[in-house]
């Protein structure tokens, strides 16, 4: 039995459904990310779970009990906001103690629990500071301590890292996962940053236009996207068009693209035109077409990106982007305007589900 359950949850704003019959089950102690572009309904869904928005249909259950009719102050969920939302007129101590005071916890216990929480987010000694005197990262840690100190049933993180700079963001996300695992709290992490979601989640729910496109572990989301949206949203892809030449009984088809033929592990209809995706890092380049596996392309541009080099290629008037590790292929070997051969493993093709 899952711990947090959303069942056919609906939210309508001005007659537009922004969350459409969304169902999801989250296990106890799991870190689930809601990932999607802005306007996909991820924050709306989070706000419905927190109780800031009413559901217009369906239900939300925590630990088997329905909570969607309770006001936000009765739901016992800890929330960390994008802009920290600390109380500017209270010290760090008072901010963290706020929830405990409301729960009529004894003064001595408040003291120990607040100090423990601040210790956990590595802010011991900052009790007497005001939020304004802290950096963004420190403020977000106070916010995390404030949410966790009340021992909520679910921790809700609403894009908690998006106001921080790149380096701090990475540090903070590791810290959040560490704390989350240590406390073992069921957590929902809302983000539009796929790298963030891939790095920290137990599972990711990819959302698009008010629906969940796919719920899966990060590697599965990346390697086996179930919809076109997921293929294109998670990581980068090249869209390639091909023609099915031959189909075989064992779930395989022979495809024709860029004057090349390849047998791929997907079942297609014979003679149909199909789309598929290939990730830039799955494209391999070589100067010689040794075993006729590749097709010829022209290097339009190359960009040095540190560990890898990005090549913008042109094959039969179609543009392809390939990222090749500099340890595999020395970028000095390949000049712009020159011709190279590109190829990939048939297993790396991501078939498009959209019928053409």
């Amino acid at each position: 039995m899952s711990y947090l359950r959303l069942e056919n949850v609906v939210k309508t704003f001005n007659k537009t459904e922004v969350v459409k019959k969304l169902s999801l089950e989250i296990e106890k102690g799991e870190l689930m990310s809601f990932l999607g572009p802005s306007g996909c309904g991820k924050t709306t869904t989070l706000n419905m779970i927190a109780g800031f928005l009413e559901v217009d249909g369906g239900k939300i259950e925590v630990d088997g009990k329905p909570v969607h009719l309770l006001p936000p102050n009765k739901r016992e969920m800890g929330m960390v906001f994008q802009n920290y939302a600390l109380f500017p007129h209270m010290t760090v101590f008072d901010n963290v103690a706020y929830g405990l005071k409301l729960r009529k916890v004894a003064k001595s216990e408040i003291n120990t629990r607040v100090l423990e929480a601040l210790e956990m987010v590595r802010l011991a000694g900052y009790e007497k500071r005001y939020p304004k005197e802290l950096s963004g990262g420190q403020q977000q840690r106070v916010s995390l301590a404030r949410a966790l100190v009340i021992k909520p049933k679910v921790l809700l993180l609403d894009e908690p890292l998006s106001n921080l700079d790149a380096k701090l963001r990475q540090e903070m996300r590791e810290e959040i996962v560490d704390i989350q695992k240590k406390v073992g709290i069921t957590t929902i992490f809302v983000t539009h940053d796929q790298e963030e979601a891939l790095a920290i989640s137990d599972r990711i729910a990819v959302m698009y236009e008010g629906r969940i496109e796919q719920v899966d572990e990060p590697a599965a989301i990346y390697n086996h996207p179930e919809t076109d949206f997921v293929s294109q949203f998670i990581g980068e892809v090249n869209r390639v068009q091909g023609k099915v030449l031959e189909t075989y009984d064992d779930q395989k088809s022979k495809l024709h693209f860029f004057g090349n033929e390849q047998i791929v592990p997907v079942r297609y209809t014979r003679n149909s035109e199909v789309d598929f995706f290939i990730r830039p890092e799955k494209i391999q380049l070589s100067l010689a077409n040794s075993d006729n596996a590749g097709f010829e392309t022209k290097v339009e541009r190359k960009m040095f990106l540190g560990a890898k080099t990005r090549y913008i290629l042109k094959a039969q008037d179609k543009q392809l982007v390939a990222d090749v590790s500099n340890t595999v292929l020395n970028p000095n070997q390949i000049q712009e305007e020159s011709h190279v051969f590109a190829y990939w493993n048939p297993e790396d093709l991501l078939p498009s589900r959209k019928a053409r």
């Binding site: 927190a50 109780g51 800031f52 006001p71 936000p72 102050n73 009765k74 739901r75 016992e76 969920m77 800890g78 929330m79 906001f81 994008q82 802009n83 939302a85 600390l86 109380f87 500017p88 007129h89 209270m90 010290t91 706020y98 929830g99 409301l102 729960r103 005001y130 304004k132 916010s143 404030r146 949410a147 009340i150």
Partner: protein
């Protein structure tokens, strides 16, 4: 350092200094009209009045030539005048308190409204300021007088036998002042409510606070600066107001501005009028400073905000 480098450095410094002077000049030029008016039509006359308040009264020419403290001593040692001071301050304080209480919900609702509704509501709140002070006051006279709207209604309903004394009381003065001054309070509180990050309110609810508790623990402390700014405006405008107490209070409810007017325009005793005027300024300033001190102590965080 080489000589060539030195001259280049000097040139750079000179140019920098020039730019800075230019910037300063611009600032002063922009301030000049306001400063001029402030200086010549406010500070200077006030200064002359201050000097006048230390002169004796001469029935012939108005202002005598002798220096004296008698004007101030006369005021401070007379219970009647002290009573007027107390009444003036009391009316101003009650007005301020009432405006805070009625303005807060209005400001809260308006700041929650969106787009066009918000503009219309703001205009509605500002509407008392669009009507002449005198006309508005006579409107209240019609409503509050012995055979006015309120008394007639109550008598025809049989709830009272003799008309209630509503007009020419401190009550009627407070009503008239609240009516004209509450827009200042609404605007000022609105300003501070709108500056609050809405997620702070959500955070409070999320941590388990009821709406009631959220109001007193989060919303109210964070809007204190707005309440304070509004209070200073409303208090200083009401403590020195003249038209409203004159029409709605009359001679029965004498306030300090009325006393000043009496001395200057009726008795032609300019020195005494000047002294009363200065005491009014003094009292208002002291009250506002005391108020801000108390506020600063009760809510330390506001200063930090």
């Amino acid at each position: 350092m080489q000589p060539v480098m030195g001259t280049e450095q000097d040139l750079l410094l000179k140019q920098k200094k020039k730019n800075l002077n230019r910037k300063r000049l611009d600032t002063w030029l922009l301030l000049l009209p306001t400063l001029g008016i402030f200086l010549f039509f406010f500070l200077l006359p006030l200064f002359f009045l201050f000097i006048t308040s230390f002169k004796t009264f001469d029935p012939g020419s108005g202002i005598g030539s002798e220096w004296t403290l008698q004007n101030y001593i006369k005021f401070i040692s007379d219970p009647f005048y002290l009573g007027v001071v107390w009444r003036t301050v009391k009316i101003a304080l009650i007005t301020t308190l009432v405006t805070i209480i009625i303005s807060y919900p209005v400001a809260f609702q308006i700041s929650k409204a969106k787009g066009r509704a918000k503009n219309y509501l703001t205009l509605l709140v500002l509407s008392p300021l669009l009507i002449s002070m005198v006309i508005r006051c006579y409107g209240w006279v019609i409503i509050l007088s012995n055979n006015g709207v309120v008394n007639n209604t109550l008598m025809s309903l049989g709830w009272i036998d003799t008309p209630l004394t509503l007009l020419y009381t401190e009550f009627s003065v407070v009503i008239g002042m609240v009516h004209v001054l509450f827009p200042y309070m609404v605007l000022s509180i609105m300003g501070s409510i709108e500056r609050i990050d809405p997620s702070v309110i959500r955070a409070s609810q999320n941590l388990g606070a009821s709406s009631f508790r959220t109001f007193f623990s989060v919303l109210l402390p964070l809007t204190l600066p707005g309440i304070f700014a509004g209070s200073v405006m409303v208090f200083s405008l009401s403590v020195s107001s003249f038209v409203t107490p004159a029409i709605l209070g009359g001679p029965q409810v004498k306030v300090m501005s009325y006393l000043t007017y009496e001395q200057v325009a009726v008795m032609l005793n300019w020195p005494y009028g000047g002294a009363i005027g200065f005491l009014l300024i003094f009292i208002a300033t002291v009250t506002i400073i005391a108020y801000s001190k108390i506020l600063a102590r009760s809510e330390k965080g506001v200063a930090i905000q």
